[in-house]
Symmetry: C2
Subunit: 375 residues, 2 copies
């Protein structure tokens, strides 16, 4: 079995250990004579792995039992959270502030506006220089650029823009400073890829299919006090409070996806947790960015140095013909997923947790060799 | 590897063939050097299996390319459809009719009412004799008992009440007659377990975790003309039209769950499709109901003969002590999942598509033997 080097943006590479564990027990899980996906979600066998996924997540985030925060697993992905976030916290006459630095921030805002219009609330885009025009997507805002409305119910940010390859806060103590309003952050594409302090956020969320599992499950970490203030007159299935109260078992959860998240988190924990993986992630990103910066202009990265993502490295070649040739060479070398998002073109190497330093080095080596022979 | 006899109500038994296929290609799918769950959902490799799942579903339902109906895969389960159904079709001043014969019909109504209240619409329960009181859950209504509001935007029914073990239409040409209003039906627990005519429904839906796959995905089959009439001012992620238009690829779908549905549907297709499995399902149910009816009152089924479900067979023993003893004996015999739902007690044998005739026979044999020795 030859496994490829997978640089896909998500769904993305998973740790081989997590997959092997799933394969070995696919038809007989823990001696139950059933697959984990055939187990009742109310049964003791499944409940154990469900709890373990919750516990590992708290541990990896550094949350103790005393921390009044709930970890929730939901379906629908981050895209659905864009809408349910507004449903849970926006009432008639209230407003929330959205910081957008790219495609995902924009989508979050559009869905919030759509719901806000239904109930007479509003979702407002925070103005800053990089929020529109040619510079959009080339950097994240500096905290000093952002002014939030005093009465905003929450401030929404995106910590890593997957399509543009920008990421916040790597040289700051916190992403987008520390608003006094409740801070809600979409961390889909860098969740558990770097150390953060979850206590600085009222709510953070992440689709699993980048760093922590397969698609089909999204994680929320929410301050219980913030949850107290949520709307109770929306359908139960959309209330975060419903799911927090029921330990993510209000309705049938995506059991196999949560089981796989458990496998991935157990792998991460055994590897030394988030500090250890962040070290690897920084090393991987440096390998690829160095190959870009030392190419004498053959490769270019449109992102300003301070905002360069360690999760998604975007770069261009001199022409689309060069890019097609490079893509073919990468596939020849056993690499997949390097084509940039269709909306921006170019190349993108996603270096999520499950991508090894060796794979990043192989990519950097290929880039150098390719520049030498094709430059 | 000893596989148990799994009578769970859902998540439930899956065909061994579908699981073996998943196991064998878990780390290297179709020679791609990746798991199917590591593939980009926009890539050709995944798109093929995604399309195959849609195509198999149409084929098994007997829908041709000419049928103006869309098959959609969504997240959130049937419980979320309870809410999104109202969001898609209820506007201020409109109302929908709900027929409830049990716990799931009730839940569908409660979620619809909750949303309806938000927008000034209404969800009305259709009155009939078995809708409340002691008889609730012991039978399905007869078509002649139901009168629908002339201006109902749709009529909602539940074809099989999983908890109570009741099912409609087995001796009728259609479930709940044929309302002239658009008919929306929750078929979660008997979908593809019996032959139906999908053209008689404006929308039918089913969580996968009973007959067609793991939890984490729900299927909708919707008349395109009905979809035309849906609300376009709700968040995009909740609009069925968004997902129909994008072939269930508007946002990242639960790729592995859809792949497993494909595996299960391919198994069903090879087995002879729905007519063949319905024959098995009727045979399985007869084995267990006969064991009940021929026990001289040791086992009793509270459900009226005409409404007895072929998917979920509920029965009681003379006392809770007898029930505990029977449960222990069944576990001893390698059977799991026979405990009834906590809200009603007793026993429940779920005989979904993946449960073999041999397993149903083993259960019936055990029941007869147990009655003989413990009766």
């Amino acid at each position: 079995m030859t496994r490829v080097m997978n640089f896909s943006a998500g769904p993305a590479a998973l740790p081989e250990e997590a997959l092997l564990r799933a394969r070995d027990e696919l038809l007989d899980w823990n001696g139950t004579g059933m697959s984990v996906m055939e187990q009742s979600h109310r049964g003791k066998a499944y409940e154990k792995v469900h709890q373990e996924a919750h516990d590992l997540l708290r541990k990896l985030l550094g949350l103790t039992a005393d921390d009044k925060r709930s970890v929730i697993f939901l379906q629908g992905g981050a895209t659905q959270v864009f809408a349910t976030l507004a449903m849970n916290f926006l009432r008639a006459g209230t407003s929330a502030d959205y910081v957008s630095a790219g495609a995902w921030g924009d989508k979050a805002l559009v869905e919030a506006k759509s719901y806000a219009a239904m109930v007479g609330a509003s979702a407002r885009e925070v103005r800053w220089e990089g929020a529109e025009g040619a510079g959009k997507g080339t950097r994240m805002p500096h905290p000093r650029e952002l002014v939030f409305a005093e009465d905003a119910v929450f401030v929404h940010t995106t910590s890593n823009e997957t399509i543009h390859g920008t990421q916040v806060g790597l040289s700051e103590s916190l992403p987008f400073a520390d608003p006094k309003q409740p801070h809600v952050c979409d961390m889909s594409s860098d969740f558990l890829g770097r150390v953060i302090d979850p206590r600085k956020f009222s709510l953070l969320y992440a689709g699993a299919q980048k760093n922590i599992g397969p698609s089909g499950v999204v994680v929320l970490v929410v301050d219980d006090a913030f949850l107290e203030a949520s709307c109770d007159d929306i359908p139960s299935i959309f209330r975060y409070a419903t799911h927090a109260k029921n330990g993510s078992l209000y309705n049938t959860p995506p059991t196999f996806a949560i089981y796989l998240v458990r496998n991935v988190l157990a792998w991460l924990d055994a590897k030394g947790g988030v500090p250890a993986i962040e070290k690897d992630n920084r090393a991987k990103a440096k390998l690829v960015y160095d190959a870009i910066d030392e190419s004498g202009g053959f490769y270019t990265c449109p992102v300003e140095a301070e905002s360069r993502s360690i999760m998604n490295v975007v770069f261009r070649l001199p022409s689309e013909a060069h890019e097609a040739k490079f893509l073919a060479a990468s596939e020849q070398a056993g690499m997949v997923g390097l084509k940039g998002h269709r909306s921006v073109g170019g190349m993108r190497a996603s270096l999520y947790n499950a991508v090894s330093v060796a794979h990043a080095k192989a990519l950097a080596d290929l880039m150098r060799e390719h520049a030498r022979t094709s430059g």
